[in-house]
C-alpha cells in the first residue's frame, strides 16, 4: 500500500528563517532572553565550552626541524625531557604544558567543561591512515596513526611527525617523555618475575625474554575537577556490651545508638588520569589484564611537555578512541569515591561502623587534557578458552613502578594448597586425638 501522506514540507528556501535571511549579529537572539523562563534563559546564555588551544602552528607541515641547523634527525634524549638533533648535537627542551597553558591553577574557580584542543571529540569519519606530502621533496608519505606517529620519507629521508591536531584523536595536547631506560625496565621486569617463579606457568618461564619489552605511549585524559558531594547514611555507637547465659550458652549482646549522618565536602582534584582508549579502560580481570597497566598510575603529569612527535621516534603509540562524554561516568564514579574517602575521618566516633545510603555529586567544573604517557610493556599470551589471556608486565616509564600478571601453573598451585591443607588437617586431628 502506498502511503497517502505527503512528505513534510521542506525548509523555506527564501523568506524569514531561511539561509537567504541576513544572518543575525553574533551573540544576538531573536527573542529577548530576559522574557523567557529561567531554565531556558540559562541554556541560551550558557557560555560555549571553553577550549584551550594547544596546537603548535610552527610544526604544522609535519617536519620537525632542529631550531639550530634545520635537520629533521631529531630524537628524544633518553632519561631526560630533552630533544636532541643527531646532526649538530643541539639539545632543546619542550615547553611544559603546566605553565604554558596554566593547567595547575584556578582549580577552585573551574566552572563548566574546559576541553583542550587535543581532547576534543573524535570525528566519526576520521581515518587513522594519514597521508602527507613531504614538504622537502613532494613525495606522498603514509602514516598509520593507530600505532606510529612518525615516519621517514623514503625518497629524501626526511623524518615526519604528525603534529597537526587531526580529528581522529591521535594527536594529544601533551606528551610525557620516557625517563626510565630500556635496560632499567628490563631489570625491573626480571626482578618482578624472579620473585614469582615457583608456581609460574612452565611455558612462560621458558619463553621469558624481558629484552622484548616495548615502549608504548598510551592515551590518557588528565582531568582536573572542582566538585562537591553530599553523602548521607547511618552510623552506630555502642552504648553497652554484655553477656547472657552461662557455660556453653554464653552469648554477647550489644546496645547501640543509631545516628542519621549527613556530610558535605567540597574538593578539587588535580590531574586524575583516565584511560582514553576503550580497550585499556576495560578492567575486567576475567578477560584481560589491563588492571596491571591501571595499577602503575599515576605519572608525574605536571612535567608533561607540549606535543612534539619527535618524542615518539622509536616508540609505538596507541590512539585515543574515547571522548570526554564517554569518560564522564567514570570520572563521576571516581570523584564520588574520593569524596567518600575524604569524609571517612569525620565518622571515627561511630565505633560500630557507618552505612552510607545515599550520595550526590555536584560537578562544578572540569578541565580535560589529553596526554600520551610512557609505559614499558612486556606481554605473554597464554593460550586457552576464548582466545586465551594476554598477560602484561608493565613498568611506569617515569616512576619505574612495576606491576605484572604472571600466569600460574594450576596443578602446581593446587598441589601446594592441598599439601598444606592436609598438613594442617593432620595437626588438627592430632590435637583432637590428644585432647579426647
Amino acid at each position: 500500500m502506498s502511503d497517502p501522506k505527503t512528505p513534510a514540507p521542506a525548509a523555506p528556501v527564501t523568506g524569514p528563517g531561511s539561509p537567504q535571511d541576513v544572518p543575525p549579529l553574533p551573540g544576538s537572539q531573536p527573542i529577548d532572553p530576559a522574557t523567557l523562563p529561567r531554565s531556558i534563559r540559562d541554556e541560551l546564555e550558557a557560555p560555549d565550552p571553553a577550549a584551550i588551544d594547544t596546537a603548535s602552528a610552527e610544526l604544522k607541515d609535519g617536519i620537525n626541524r632542529c631550531p639550530k641547523c634545520g635537520s629533521t634527525e631529531i630524537r628524544h634524549k633518553p632519561g631526560t625531557d630533552l630533544l636532541v638533533c643527531l646532526y649538530c648535537r643541539n639539545e632543546w627542551d619542550g615547553a611544559r604544558v603546566e605553565e604554558a597553558f596554566g593547567l595547575g591553577e584556578g582549580l577552585r574557580d573551574l566552572r563548566g567543561t574546559v576541553i583542550a584542543s587535543g581532547a576534543r571529540d573524535i570525528a566519526a569519519d576520521a581515518a587513522s591512515l594519514m597521508s602527507f606530502k613531504c614538504t622537502a621533496c613532494g613525495a606522498e608519505v603514509t602514516i598509520n596513526t593507530e600505532s606510529t606517529m612518525t615516519a621517514r620519507c623514503h625518497w629524501c629521508r626526511h623524518v615526519f611527525g604528525i603534529n597537526e591536531q587531526i580529528a581522529n584523536g591521535a594527536v594529544p595536547d601533551a606528551v610525557l617523555p620516557f625517563h626510565i631506560r630500556k635496560d632499567d625496565a628490563v631489570a625491573r621486569i626480571r626482578q618482578f618475575v624472579d620473585k614469582r617463579r615457583m608456581f609460574a606457568l612452565k611455558a612462560f618461564k621458558e619463553q621469558f625474554t624481558p629484552e622484548n619489552v616495548v615502549g608504548v605511549y598510551l592515551p590518557y585524559m588528565i582531568v582536573d575537577g572542582n566538585a562537591g558531594a553530599d553523602i548521607a547514611g547511618k552510623g552506630e555507637i555502642k552504648t553497652r556490651e554484655y553477656t547472657r547465659g552461662t557455660g556453653n550458652d554464653k552469648k554477647t549482646y550489644y546496645d547501640a545508638d543509631i545516628y542519621q549522618i549527613e556530610r558535605h565536602v567540597d574538593f578539587t582534584v588535580d590531574d586524575l588520569p583516565l584511560e582514553s582508549s576503550a580497550e585499556r579502560g576495560d578492567l575486567d580481570t576475567r578477560v584481560n589484564t589491563n588492571n596491571i597497566i591501571n595499577t602503575i598510575l599515576p605519572f608525574d603529569t605536571k612535567n608533561a611537555v607540549k606535543w612534539n612527535a619527535s618524542y615518539l621516534v622509536g616508540f609505538t603509540s596507541e590512539k585515543r578512541n574515547r571522548d570526554v562524554e564517554h569518560l564522564r561516568p567514570r570520572l563521576e564514579d571516581q570523584l564520588l569515591s574520593i569524596a567518600r574517602a575524604q569524609v571517612e575521618s569525620s565518622t571515627s566516633r561511630y565505633d560500630r561502623g557507618v552505612r552510607w545510603e545515599q550520595e550526590r555529586l555536584q560537578v562544578h567544573g572540569t578541565r580535560w587534557v589529553s596526554m600520551y604517557l610512557p609505559v614499558w610493556l612486556y606481554s605473554y599470551h597464554q593460550p586457552g578458552r576464548n582466545g586465551g589471556l594476554l598477560h602484561y608486565i608493565a613498568v611506569n616509564g617515569r616512576t619505574g613502578e612495576t606491576m605484572g600478571s604472571v600466569p600460574v601453573q594450576q596443578w602446581k598451585l593446587l598441589t601446594a594448597a592441598l599439601t598444606v591443607g592436609t598438613f594442617i588437617e593432620g595437626i588438627v586431628l592430632w590435637i583432637l586425638a590428644a585432647s579426647s
Binding site: D230, Q260, I261, E344, S346, V420, G421
Partner: protein, 86 residues
C-alpha cells in the same frame, strides 16, 4: 575442650588450603590491584561539614558491627541522588 570446638577445628584444613591458594594466586596474577586514585591523586578538600542526629537505638543485638557497613568501601556505589548539578 568441648565437642563443639573440636568440630570447628576440622574446618581449618580446607580453609587453610583455600586461603593459601588465593593468596598465591593473587601474588602471581595481581587481579586485585588497580590505581589507588583515592590516595594517589592530589585532592584539595575544604573542611567536611555535616550533621549527626540520633534517630533510634537498638537493644540486645548480637551483631558487633552495623549491617551493610561500607564506610571504607569507597568504591561501592550507593543510591545516587540526582539533584541540581552545578
Amino acid at each position: 575442650m568441648s565437642d563443639d570446638n573440636g568440630l570447628w577445628l576440622l574446618a581449618l584444613g580446607p580453609t587453610g588450603a583455600t586461603a593459601l591458594y588465593w593468596a598465591l594466586y593473587r601474588y602471581y596474577r595481581n587481579t586485585d590491584k588497580s590505581h589507588a586514585f583515592e590516595r594517589e591523586t592530589a585532592v584539595d578538600a575544604q573542611p567536611v561539614t555535616g550533621s549527626d542526629r540520633k534517630v533510634d537505638e537498638i537493644k540486645g543485638t548480637r551483631a558487633s558491627r552495623i549491617s551493610g557497613e561500607n564506610g571504607r568501601a569507597y568504591r561501592t556505589r550507593v543510591q545516587r541522588v540526582r539533584g541540581d548539578t552545578g
